[in-house]
Subunit: 199 residues, 4 copies
DNA sequence: GACTAAACGAGACGGTACGTCATGTCTTGGG
DNA sequence: CCCAAGACATGACGTACCGTCTCGTTTAGTC
């Protein structure tokens, strides 16, 4: 029951145009990379005018952010089993799945865009990093409470150790590591973080 | 029996111009970021003609690579003590020192440039990643031989675990983590990788 | 037996809007020239919607025409004394008065608009030129009948000679000549056109 | 024997491009009028880049001026016979010939452009009006000296009377009057200006 | 000491994209 | 049916760089 400033006069925004623009932007992002994502190109491919893009987005950075997140379930329900280790493994694998393939290229492009515009990096932090990190911190705190952590484990360092192997290859290779490698890293890290039940 | 390919007729390359260009490129890179590094800007700032740049470099990517590596000792002699753990810690801290501050921003910019041009990412791999990774693999193999590793540690995963926390923050924050955080991560990782002497 | 074509259903045209639009258009015309007369600008300044303008006028040309003629008495009663020379002098001075100053600039702008749209030039001819020319032709014919013309004077050429000096400076200087200059020209022309009574 | 500031470094201006641009501009000016003369259109038609146009001309006004004057002999040698009346008739007919047809449309367009930009109207004055007016004033002064003028003729008014009928129709009809009409006007005006030899 | 040849600065060239603005059309809700 | 508001596709604006090109100049080695 939202009561906007009365009603919003004038012709309503075209949902068609909005979608065409986001689709075109995503396609170009994946196909040609952030460097070659131009507003004119998007307008051409989407069959819209440039001004329609500038009316709703601030520039190619904003556009790239929205285009990427249109492909992503922004607030996935994260399961919570009894085991913190299992929960983290599930989340990390899920993120890897989200980012692998074309969306991964878009994501890498997006991070790149972050250097060009603080808006973009803020948006990425706010819409990707923060929710996932918040969840992770909370889960880690609960694990500590439940005595699931080994003694002397600092939560912040533990999180860095668990997540970094997922992201860092983007810097050099543009790709998310394969599931097997990721698992090996996770297992190794988990060994030094989580208390395991004695067999 | 001519020693060189003849002797290179004509006016020799101007060392002055080369240095002015690299300096200008680095300055712009650090001051304004990769996005705003333009060939025209470099030529203007260096007081050279554009063609001199295009003669020796393929584009702004190539130029950025050279400008960055001009600030870095490309093949540092890595010490080797008896302890693998100490050696890795030394190397990682050294890399962090190299990348922290302005050069770090240049490095991030460089990695970004990698998406735009395969030449750049190849150069980064060849001049940064490969030598460091080669050393690390070798050192890790020697550690395994010497029985310094805990049982069940896969070298590849171990390396990923050790190095990722250094790089991944570049993706989101444009910075290298502070020494303290890095140490905490390293210690945590080391605990699951290296066999420690019993007290 | 309905008196009007039906009665015109629906909301009646807003006289307020019409006037606001014409006023705004005239103001912009005088203040910023025809070049900078934009429909959007008029709508903004008049506080109306663009479509209201497009509904009633064909474009900025039409609008300029109406705005200009709103400042002019379109069919002034022309006096007729016994002397053709005096009557012409009176009319020409009257026209000069109408066109001098801001309205003159608007008029020049209007003529300029004529090149862009045949509608405009037709309107200018119909609402400015034709009534004045018709009067002049009639007066000249009557003068011929009354024997006021010198022998060998072709009416068409005589009219051109009398009126041209009023208009032609608009082309180069954007202004109507001062009264004194105009008088000198008129006197000179009159000498070769009108028979003067012997003293 | 001009000694420029040494030599003019850099690639020399392309004469080809200059000509293609002027030709295209003139063609558009004549074909579509000043209103529809756009820099982009000229660049498209001339096969050049926009920047080449902006490098050498300040805008469409400047361009139109140059395009028009490229078709006109800017400083025609004016004959001088013994008779001032004949000389003026020759000059006026020559101007009419210059302006009739396509160049006339371009000229009208140009005058229109004068309202939009003071640069243009200054250029038109400087390159068209002034030389012709200067010549006319001088010739008129010489005629006065030689006693060719009727008594009481003010040179300024006489010039206005002679030249106005040529220009003023441009305002309403876009065309230069036909030779016959022009002659009639000229004869009528001449009768009140020049002393004629007794038969 | 002239000749050859490449690198140099300068800067013009045809392009592409930028972000802004006005066009004329349309689609709402409300009077 | 009119009106205001304002979104829409279109297209020109003037700017900034792109990467290529064409100059005249400079700086070596080679004859």
């Amino acid at each position: 029951m939202e009561n906007n400033p009365r009603k919003a006069a004038g012709r309503p925004r075209s949902e068609e145009a909005r979608e065409a623009i986001l689709l075109a932007a995503l396609a170009i992002l994946v196909r040609e990379g952030y460097e070659n994502l131009s507003i004119e190109g998007v307008a051409r491919e989407a069959g819209t005018g440039k001004s329609t893009i500038y009316r709703w987005w601030g520039g190619r950075g904003d556009l790239a952010v929205d285009a990427f997140f249109a492909t992503i379930d922004e607030t996935p329900d994260l399961p919570e089993t009894g085991s913190a280790e299992e929960d983290f493994r599930t989340q990390i694998n899920g993120m890897a799945r989200d980012l692998r393939g074309p969306p991964g290229r878009a994501f890498a492009a997006l991070l790149m865009g972050g250097r060009e515009s603080p808006t973009v990096s803020a948006a990425v932090r706010k819409r990707w990093l923060d929710p996932r990190r918040d969840w992770a911190r909370m889960r880690m705190a609960r694990a500590a409470e439940a005595g699931e952590l080994l003694p002397g484990v600092e939560p912040r360092a533990a999180l860095a150790l668990l997540y970094s192997p997922l992201y860092s290859p983007l810097l050099f290779g543009n790709t998310i590591p394969p599931a097997q490698d990721l698992s090996a890293c996770f297992d190794l890290a988990a060994r030094t973080i989580f208390r395991r039940e004695k067999a």
